[in-house]
Every structure is written in C-alpha cells, then in structure tokens.
C-alpha cells in the first residue's frame, strides 16, 4: 500500500503539511488536528510523521480497536470511521509510530485524503512523497522523533 513517506534530510520545518491537512479535513487550522506532524529539535532536525498504512507496522490500531471502527474503507487507506469511534484511545496507545491522535473524544489518522494527499502537494522540497514505502524509511523517522522527546 502506498503511504506518506518521510525523507528526513529534506524537511524544512515549514509546516505547510500540518496546516493544509487540518484545513482540508476540518475546515480550520490547528496543528493538533493535523494527521501529519512535524517534530523539531534544536537547529538542525525536523521530522515529519504520518501513518505508514501498515507498510511498516502490524496495524496495531486496527487490532486493538474494541468496536472495529478503524478499517480500510475504500481500498486507499486505513481510516477511522468517525461515527463509530467511541473515543477509548486504545489505538493511540497502541500505535508504535505515534501516528494516530485524539482530539476531544474522537480518534483520527491519515486517510491519504481519499488517494490524493493534500500534504504532498504542499511539500515544496518533496520531503514527503506518496509512494510505496520501505519499512526503514518509516523507522528512521520514528527513531528520530522518539529521540526528540
């Protein structure tokens, strides 16, 4: 499955992806509504993190959801069916990539914008691309983001 693949050295920290993602999905801007997030440390490091759609994980979020509301709805991406989400937060705990989030009492994650990712269009230096990712790419981002905490 294709996903949002991070290229760490290229990310400029402009945060267009975060803002655009939130604007596209929620009609407002709020980093906490971004399905993609930029982590920063010091002067030299930015790391974009979004869901890898199972390219590098065992879809832990899907496995732990007690009401099975996280699933592949249209063949593009694993998504949270909002109406069914009970807000338990299990998926957030389970995701090893920190790529699924809660706001209020609903979980949300990247759904690849129905196959036409908004964030990628806003990423001028191609620090994120929409393609078949290899696990190492996601893992590097994950390790880098964790090292920042």
């Amino acid at each position: 499955m294709r996903a949002i693949v991070p290229h760490l050295e290229l990310c400029t920290g402009c945060r267009m992806c975060e803002m655009a993602c939130s604007l596209h999905h929620e009609g407002l801007v709020n980093r906490e509504w971004g399905r993609i997030r930029i982590h920063r440390k010091g002067i030299e490091h930015y790391v974009p993190v979004a869901c890898n759609q199972g390219a590098s994980c065992d879809k832990e979020c899907v496995k732990v959801c007690p009401v099975d509301c996280i699933r592949d709805v249209n063949g593009h991406a694993i998504e949270v069916v909002r109406e069914e989400c009970i807000g338990c937060g299990e998926c957030v705990e389970a995701c090893p990539y920190n790529a699924i989030h809660m706001r209020g009492d609903v979980a949300f994650k990247c759904n690849l914008c129905d196959g036409d990712p908004t964030c990628v269009k806003f990423c001028s230096l191609k620090a994120i691309t929409f393609e078949e990712g290899v696990p190492e790419e996601f893992d590097r981002a994950k390790d880098a983001a964790e090292a920042m905490r």
Binding site: C14, M19, L23, G27, L28, V29, N30, W33, E44
Partner: protein
C-alpha cells in the same frame, strides 16, 4: 470575526496585572493586524518622549493577520516598541511560529508594559498567563535560554534575548527558534523590562471564512512559487544569491565602512562558492515553500560543530565586506556570536566597521581599543569586538550605543565616519548608486532600512509592479515611487507575508485572500489606503517624538564621498539631489515641506 482570535492580551510587569480584552470590530477594519495593530497600540500607549529603556515604553508582539494559515510565506510576526537606537517607532518582522501560536492561544496582540522587579519570563498557555522567575536564565545565551524553558514548559514556542539585550545594547535583538526580530533594539527594550523570554503555547482553532476557497488559493500560490525562477536560487543559495551581481554588475556592495562599493574578496563570501560546501539543509520560516533559510554547518577545524541559520546577504555585508573580512568560517562564527548574544548583526557589523575605519585613520588608537589592533579584515579583532559590545566592555560599551551616539562620544571628527539615518546603521545597498534606495533610507520610519519599501528590487532591475523604466542613477519620480512602495510593503507587514514573495501577491492577490480568510471585502485601492494610513500613523508617532526634516538626512559620507571603483564609480548623492527627492516624497505624501501632514490628510485617513 473569522481569521482573528478576537482578543488582546495586556501584561503589566510592574504590577503583575494581566488583562484580556475584546478586539473591537471597527478597529479590525481600520488596522487589520500586524504592523497596523502594533502602530496604533504604540501610538496610544507610549506617552510622548518616553525613555525607550524606561517603564513607560511598551513591547508589542503582533502576529500578521494570515499567521497560522497555509498562505505561502504568511508566517511573519513582529515586535514593536519605541526604539532605543533611533527614538522612532521600531518594528522588526520575523518568520517564526510565535505569531500563529499567540493567535491560537487566543490573542491577536500582546502588549507588555512596566518593568519587572527581577528577571522574569512570560508564559502563555491559552487562558493561563503567568509571569515566572527567570533568575536562573539571566546571563544565558539565546539557545540555552530557549532550551531551558522548553524543558520546563514542554512544546512552547520561545522568544528570548541574550546578554546583549540584558546589557541594553541599543541594537540587541529578539530570537525565536533561530529567527530574529533584528532591527531597532527591541531586545534592549525587553532587557530594560527584565523580561528574558516570552513562551507561548496555543491549542485553539483558527477558522477561515471560506475554507475550501482558501485551500484552493493557498495551493495555487504554493504551486506558483515552486515553479518560479526564484525557487532554485532562493533554496540553494539563500539571500546571498545576488551578492556577486551587486558587486560586479551594479557596483553597490558597501565595503570597508562605505569607503568602497565593491569588495575585492567577494568570491570567498559568495554563496555560489560556499553553499555547496557548508549548507546542511533548508530551514524554512513558518509556511514558506521556498525557504531562503538554510543551516550552515562547520564539521572540522576550530569551529567544528558550529550550526547557524544563514549566512544571510545582509550579514555577508555587515560582518564581511563592511569589515573587509573575507573568511567565510570566521564570518559564520561572527554570525553565531551575534545570534547567541542576541545582537542585530547588521548594526553590530557596522559598529565594528566604523571602529576599524577610525582606527585606520588614527582617530582611535590602541589606547582606546584596549590594545586591540582594529585592522580591516582581521577576524580576531572583529570577533573580539563583537564580544566586547555584547558585554559592554571597554570600547564595546561605546559601540553598544550605535554609531551615531558612539561618534558623539568619541568626537574628533568621527561623526564623518558614522553611516546611519535616524541613528540606524543601514543594510547592504550602496545607495550612492541607487538613488531611490537613498530616499528609502531617508524616509523609512525606523531609520535606514531596505524593507519598509523594498525599493532595491525595482531600482536595480528597473521594473516592478506598476513601475517600468526606472533609472537607478536618476532622482526623477522617486518621491511617488517610494511612497507607493512603502504603502504596498506595509500591507505585507499587516498580513504577515514575506517580502520575498512581493511579486506573487501584490494588492490584487490580497483581495481574494482577505475575503476567504476574514470575509472582509477590501478593494485594491482600499488595501493600499490601509498601507498609507499606517505609514502616516507611524510618521505621526515619530513627529510627536520630535523628529524634524533634519532627521531625514543622509550621513555625510554618502553625500561627499563618491564610490571610488566599479560600475557605479563616481556616483554620490548630492545635497541638492537629497533635498529634491525629499521634497518630492513629502509632496507625494501630502505633507508640508517640513514633513508635517495636513489636518485634511489626517482626517481623510481616519487617523484622529
């Protein structure tokens, strides 16, 4: 109203009082945001002739209206106060996340007044606003300060001062995530309030009037920027991209304290030479798809491990050519010192160059310099002097006052070596060969400045916006030109859009963006009228501070010493040319010969 947080936050450091008040709608329409809000609040809250470093000056933080939205390059925020360097309004814009964070915390403007009894920092977390003890942070550099605060406050965006601000260096700046509110001494204002830092965390939503249309517009402009010819040069070489052109084709790169207009060692500081060797990655301002910001890193030698954002064109001039210094690693170190201590690198470099020039002519001797040989081109002397300025040691204490005051202190004819307008050391444009820019230096409300008008772009290429066939050596039509450009560029500072995108939006583009973000209908001419209103307001502030026509003069060196070599050889601004351009400008502004706006003008602009 959509696009705004809707409230103003006032903090009095003397009493500790915190006040949140609604932003009146009529006020929004008249001033819109950014520099508009800031100028009005400064005018209304600072009593005439207040001591810039005393309790009655205020420090204003004003996000541009578009902060937080993905409008490309719309992430600019500014600090504003009465300047300790020029005595005029000071405002300085930076591309940091501070603005969007403040809006998301729920405030369109922060106004800090009074003076704290002991070092403190302001912490804003949505509704929670606190004045906290900064005793342990006093004396720390900007990076260590921000890191310490983030350790306590988590993911806050931190703006802070270094020791230069603490020591009231009149051109100390404010740092936020390696972006600086650089010019006019705003860091000294913070220092005078014993305010080490401002940390902001915001979690609120920013809601545009029409999300779908805004999305379309943002994407369209982003794509346009990616496809533009500027994209490659900006992202690869940064602002220094045109350094060689300024030297060889225009002959207008101020060198050795404005003795020359071409730098012989320019190749060594040209980014086409050093960028491939030292650039680690791009580092964007908030919302910028074509980042000129890049991380410069040194991996070996005595500066191994050095990392800065830069080196910007302006500092290649001030810390490089102006001091006759052509070693890029030493230049990077000078840049780093300025960043860590919180010094405006333009003024700091200019102060060093001024001292070197005096040393060369024997006006300063080793006795004055504490044994330092202040030779042009000597990196050791330069670095040492920057350190002395930040710490206000010896000669550094004198230079920390800026070249105007320093020359008054030194005397012995040193005034003739002090290059400034209204007390501000100029940026990297040798205006003897760019007449419109000479006028722009003269008229800028904050002292010699390239960004109030951005006239260099038009002057050097002959073409921009509605202007064509402009001759940089001629004084013809410059009054109207600078007035119009100032009004337009002020709109960029209202909205918080980068002036390096000036060619993409213009008044025309802002009509749609304003509508989709706020729902407000502004015509093109209303948008430009807003810029005019704000510029008149800034001017009224300056007049109230006692500015007269004399304060619009160029310094003696630019009026008497022609550029000696290069393409612009022989050019100088004569007294007559200076006066003619100024007359034309005042006329274009609808001001008297003495620069006083008529009653009519003021009421016509809704400024009473």
């Amino acid at each position: 109203m959509n696009g705004f947080a809707g409230r103003i936050l006032k903090i009095d450091l003397t009493t500790g009082a915190v006040e949140k008040s609604p932003l009146p709608e009529a006020f929004i329409r008249t001033y819109l945001g950014g520099t508009g809000f800031a100028a009005r609040f400064l005018y209304d809250n600072v009593p005439p002739n207040a001591d810039a470093l005393g309790p009655s000056n205020v420090l204003i933080l004003a996000p541009g209206l578009l902060n937080g939205f993905p409008v490309p390059t719309g992430g600019k925020v500014l600090f504003c106060a009465k300047s300790p360097l020029t005595g005029t309004i000071a405002e300085s814009v930076m591309g940091a996340r501070l603005g969007s964070e403040l809006k998301r915390a729920g405030y369109d403007l922060l106004l800090v007044s009074g003076v704290s009894g002991s070092p403190c920092y302001i912490y804003i977390d949505d509704e929670d606003v606190e004045i906290k003890d900064a005793g342990g942070l006093w004396g720390k550099d900007t990076r260590a300060t921000a890191e310490d605060i983030r350790r306590t406050e988590g993911d806050a965006v931190v703006a802070c001062i270094g020791i230069a601000g603490e020591n009231l260096v009149r051109y100390a700046n404010i740092d936020c995530e390696d972006r600086q509110s650089g010019r006019g001494g705003l860091g000294a204002v913070m220092g005078s309030k014993r305010l080490k830092a401002i940390a902001v965390k915001g979690t609120g939503n920013l809601r545009p009037h029409d999300a779908d249309k805004l999305m379309d517009l943002c994407l369209r402009y982003t794509e346009r920027m990616i496809e533009s010819t500027a994209f490659n040069d900006d992202t690869k070489y940064g602002t220094g991209e045109f350094l060689e052109w300024m030297n060889s084709e225009k002959g207008t790169f101020p060198t050795r304290n404005w003795r020359e207009g071409v730098f012989d060692d320019r190749e060594k500081i040209d980014p086409y030479h050093w960028a491939p060797l030292y650039t680690k990655r791009n580092n964007a301002c908030l919302a910028c798809p074509k980042p000129c910001g890049r991380i410069f890193g040194i991996d070996e030698g005595k500066y191994a491990g050095l990392r800065i954002d830069g080196i910007e064109y302006e500092l290649l001039y001030s810390l490089g050519g102006l001091c006759g210094m052509g070693d890029i690693e030493e230049l990077a170190r000078a840049n780093e010192l300025c960043d860590l201590h919180g010094l405006d690198g333009i003024s700091a470099g200019a102060a060093v160059a001024f001292a070197m020039d005096l040393f060369q002519d024997g006006i300063l001797t080793r006795e004055d310099t504490g044994g330092l040989d202040l030779e042009f081109g000597d990196p050791e002397a330069e670095l040492k002097l920057i350190e002395m300025i930040a710490r206000r040691e010896g000669l550094g204490d004198v230079l920390a006052e800026g070249v105007k005051r320093a020359s008054e202190r030194i005397g012995k004819g040193s005034e003739d070596y002090a290059v400034h307008v209204k007390g501000m050391e100029p940026p990297a444009y040798d205006v003897r060969g760019i007449k419109g820019m000479a006028l722009a230096f003269m008229t800028s409300s904050r002292g010699a400045c390239h960004l109030r008008s951005c006239a260099y772009a038009l002057e050097l290429t002959g073409k921009f916006w509605k202007f064509e066939g402009v001759d940089r050596f001629s004084t013809k039509g410059k009054g109207v030109e600078i007035k119009e450009l100032e009004d337009m560029m002020t709109v960029y500072d209202v909205l918080g859009v980068c002036k390096f995108s000036r060619g993409f939006f213009l008044a025309e583009g802002f009509v749609d963006i304003l509508r989709t973000v706020t729902g407000l209908e502004f015509s093109e001419s209303e948008i430009l009228g807003l810029g005019e209103r704000i510029n008149n307001l800034k001017h009224m502030f300056n007049l109230r501070e006692g500015l007269t026509r004399d304060d619009f003069r160029l310094p003696k060196r630019l009026l008497t010493l022609p550029i000696p070599e290069g393409v612009s050889k022989g050019h100088v601004v004569t007294e007559e040319e200076m006066n003619k351009m100024l007359d034309d400008y005042f006329e274009a502004r609808g001001w008297s010969k003495e620069g006083l706006p008529t009653e009519e003008k003021i009421s016509g602009l809704d400024l009473v």
